[in-house]
């Protein structure tokens, strides 16, 4: 088995991670639900699966932890004690969530090829203790259970024909099961069940294999005795035993006597004493002497057995509750993410190659009608391929969003604020890379919202708001972007506070009145900025917002803050849907080329020198339709040598980002084309205003400009 394990590890980690995530959601849902039975069943089932899987992989700590929770939830669903008044479910869900965190931690270790050596003993202890407490709190239900057990229908295994045929023989058999095969009592029962098929009568000892848990030990130690009456030959009976799994050894021999006329239908333990054949008597005495007050040996009609079966069936039907959010996905396959990355890279290369071929300088000036016709076809297919390759990578935001439920629950409990989280549009799909980069920032934002944004209950009541704060996490598509908003109805941002703080830190030299709301709010994204005096466990260390911004910028996203004092704050993140291929306008400055994302270009124009004005510090601006827009000379910004320094000779490109507009001065436009964004190598990281680079059709390199970044260089 050990050689088989390694390939299974990935599947184990994958599935267990999924289960754990589902579990977490179910636990959180169950806290809200009025009818918890469905959730409890689901939690029980997931724990059961994790227990089994982990035991197979020999992760015993996980398996035992899952086992303890399985027991706990088994108790809950059987006794339905959660229905009682004053039942403290939070205590249980807290423990389960702790268990989830433990398993998550262990999975991380396993994933990183470390040994899963976490010690769950104390947690298991607490879960067991809680289970005990629950049991003693509900003695009545336990009693019921006991009674139910006692009343359980007995299983009668016996003859179809009451009359023993002449040809029938009685055999004695003594059976030992293989060591470690587990559930020896049930194995014995299974054996009896299969022997029944060839026998007219089967008696066995110990008789109470199903009712008495001690019978298991007895069978292991002393073996399991059967007395079989059958028309089959001894060889045939042997054959049946031979085909039974897990028999270490068995002896079968003919019993001394043949019997006739044994029609007995015995319904009652008492009657049994008188009427059972001598042999059975002996067994019964043994058993009743030994332990059993419930020992029985009864023969019944097959019809009775059927009745028992039907009764059992009904019980089972009622027990199998509908599962929560079950996803059947037979038409799905799971693919390694690195393969998807590769695919996208290759498609990227294909897009570049296509440009290299169709825009090859050798073709310039040639009359190539049929070539261009084929080239168009190639481009069309390349585009489709690109669309598909990207759509494969699209993943729903739902799991990322749902994680926030847990965060809100834990935090609001800890800091004593009531917060309600609403998720909107969590089915929106984004590139897998975005998902990976957005989790942490969102968590930061929500933490901030709860910690700084939402007021305490008293404050809220004083302000005439509902005592429960509300946070909305919303995602939506718009054009080629996805917007993710974190909205709270808390105290809002204070212009003055932020300005004062920024001024103290020397982050701005301007006066408060000169700054727009947006400019002031953008200070909170600067490193080391925090107006919160008190540092809590969750936020307020002043690391956070700048990290948030960095993470978002990694996926070429931008952040906007809107806030009304006393009403709340909205933080909106805009991220392009796909990361790697953009439509760009390639421009030229000197010998260098740059690409500007088409989405940020408003217009491009030639200007005359009369339109240019200079402010006191010599910054150039142009007046365009009554608006004065600052000019950024790219050749100056990046120190590129160019012959075109006169604004009249070059081209002005008006670009816009987050409602701010600036003009870029460049030498000339080269043309619009799709480009594949490549990240800059590490040694040139953090060039101001550059988002990445790309390879052009002629094999040259173009830097992709990040307009937002450019504006920041301007305003700083």
């Amino acid at each position: 088995m050990s050689s088989n394990r390694e390939p299974m590890l990935d599947l184990y980690i994958f599935e267990t991670t999924q289960q754990i995530e589902k579990l977490e959601q179910t636990v959180l849902d169950s806290e809200q639900a009025t009818d918890m039975q469905v959730s409890i069943n689901e939690i029980f089932r997931i724990m059961h699966t994790i227990k089994g899987n982990s035991a197979m992989m020999l992760f015993n700590n996980i398996s035992e932890l899952a086992h303890s929770m399985e027991d706990l939830f088994d108790h809950l669903r059987e006794t339905k004690c959660w229905m009682h008044q004053g039942f403290d479910y939070i205590k249980i869900s807290d423990l389960v969530l702790e268990g989830i965190d433990f398993i998550k931690g262990e999975l991380d270790k396993i994933n990183n090829n470390q040994s899963a050596d976490g010690d769950a003993a104390s947690l298991i202890g607490r879960i067991r203790k809680l289970l005990e407490e629950n049991k003693s709190d509900n003695p009545s239900s336990e009693q019921q259970k006991e009674e139910k057990k006692r009343k359980k229908p007995k299983y009668y295994i016996s003859s179809q024909k009451g009359v023993l045929e002449d040809s029938e023989t009685t055999y004695d058999a003594l059976v030992f099961f293989e060591e470690g095969c587990e559930m020896e009592d049930i194995r014995a029962f299974t054996l009896v069940h299969s022997v029944k098929e060839i026998a007219s009568e089967v008696k066995y000892h110990p008789e109470d294999i199903l009712e008495n848990s001690e019978s298991k030990e007895y069978i292991i130690k002393n073996g399991f005795k059967l007395t079989i009456t059958s028309s089959q030959s001894i060889e045939e009976v042997r054959e049946l035993f031979n085909r039974t799994p897990f028999l270490r050894s068995f002896d079968i021999e003919k019993a001394g006597m043949k019997k006739k006329e044994q029609r007995r239908i015995i319904l009652d333990d008492n009657e049994l004493e008188d009427k059972a054949p001598e042999q059975a008597d002996e067994y019964i005495k043994q058993s009743s002497d030994a332990k059993s007050n419930e020992g029985f040996e009864v023969k019944e009609d097959v019809s009775k057995i059927e009745a028992v079966k039907t009764a059992e069936a009904e019980v089972n039907v009622s027990r199998s509750a509908p599962s929560v959010g079950q996803a059947v996905s037979s038409a799905m396959i799971s693919v390694n993410v690195s393969k998807l990355d590769q695919l996208l890279d290759l498609v990227g290369e294909l897009v570049i190659s296509e440009a290299m071929v169709t825009r090859n300088p050798d073709l310039a000036g040639l009359q190539l009608d049929s070539f261009y016709k084929s080239a168009r076809q190639l481009r069309k297919i390349t585009n489709e391929l690109q669309d598909i390759a990207m759509s494969i990578r699209m993943v729903s935001l739902a799991p990322t969003f749902s994680k926030m439920n847990r965060l809100v629950r834990d935090m609001s409990k800890k800091i004593g604020k009531q917060v309600n989280l609403e998720l909107v549009g969590q089915d929106t799909e984004v590139d897998k890379n975005i998902i990976e980069n957005i989790g942490d920032p969102l968590m930061h934002l929500i933490r901030n919202a709860i910690d700084h944004g939402i007021e305490t209950m008293e404050e809220r009541l004083q302000a005439g708001k509902s005592p429960t704060g509300s946070i909305t996490l919303e995602a939506r598509n718009s054009g080629g972007d996805v917007w993710i908003e974190v909205k709270d109805d808390g105290r809002g941002l204070s212009r003055e506070k932020i300005y004062n703080k920024a001024f103290e830190h020397g982050l701005t030299a301007k006066r408060l009145e000169e700054l727009s709301d947006r400019e002031i709010f953008s200070f909170i994204f600067l490193p080391g900025f925090s107006t919160k005096e008190k540092v809590t466990e969750f936020s307020g260390r002043g690391v956070g917002m700048d990290v948030v911004q960095k993470n978002i910028e990694k996926v070429r996203g931008t952040i906007q803050v809107e806030s009304t004092l006393g009403k709340g704050t909205t933080i909106a993140i805009k991220i392009p849907l796909t990361l790697s291929i953009i439509d760009g306008m390639t421009i030229k400055v000197g010998e260098s080329r740059y690409t500007i994302p088409i989405t940020s270009i408003k217009e491009s124009l030639r200007i005359s020198n009369e339109q240019v004005v200079k402010d006191l510090s010599g910054n150039e601006m142009i007046i365009l339709r009554g608006e004065s827009l600052p000019i950024i000379r790219l050749h100056k910004l990046y120190s590129v040598n160019t012959l075109i320094e006169d604004l009249q000779e070059g081209i002005i490109i008006v670009v816009e980002s987050e409602n701010k507009t600036v003009c870029l001065f460049v030498d000339e436009l080269i043309g619009e084309q799709q480009v594949v964004v490549k990240t800059l190598p590490n040694y040139v990281k953090n060039v101001r205003g550059v988002a990445g680079c790309t390879i052009l059709g002629d094999g040259g390199i173009s830097l992709i400009l990040n307009i937002q970044g450019l504006m920041n260089t301007q305003s700083a």
């Binding site: 299974m8 699966t49 559930m183």
Partner: protein, 117 residues
């Protein structure tokens, strides 16, 4: 080669069993992740053997055994059970399961059980 249908809601368990069976001369002709699917696949594939998990969503293993037995009296079904599920195993046996394997299972036990029944 005996044809086996594996029924388990955990992909990991299906994978583990499949690996054991395939390296020991069994042919895994199908997998199902709940009882309903198991019944459908049984009728469709007519396997020689079925390994059946007990706790599954939609329809549990015991119900599935009953349904399969009703469809094919000769069906050979082995339950895959966990410790502590004695009662369920018993129900499954009454419903017609031939034997059972207890998780976490050893390769030898799986092979022995499936070879014998």
């Amino acid at each position: 080669m005996k044809k086996v249908l594996i029924v388990d809601d955990a992909a990991f368990m299906r994978g583990s069993l499949k690996m054991i069976l395939q390296s020991n001369g069994f042919e895994v002709i199908g997998e199902a992740e709940n009882g309903l699917e198991a019944i459908k696949k049984y009728k469709e594939l007519q396997p020689d053997l079925v390994t059946m998990d007990i706790t599954m969503p939609e329809m549990d293993g015991i119900e599935a055994v009953k349904a399969i037995k009703q469809f094919d009296d000769k069906a050979k079904i082995v339950m895959i059970s966990a410790m502590g599920q004695e009662n369920k195993v018993k129900d499954a046996v009454i419903a017609g399961a031939k034997s059972f394997i207890v998780k976490p299972f050893k390769q030898e036990f799986v092979i022995e059980t499936l070879s014998k029944i």
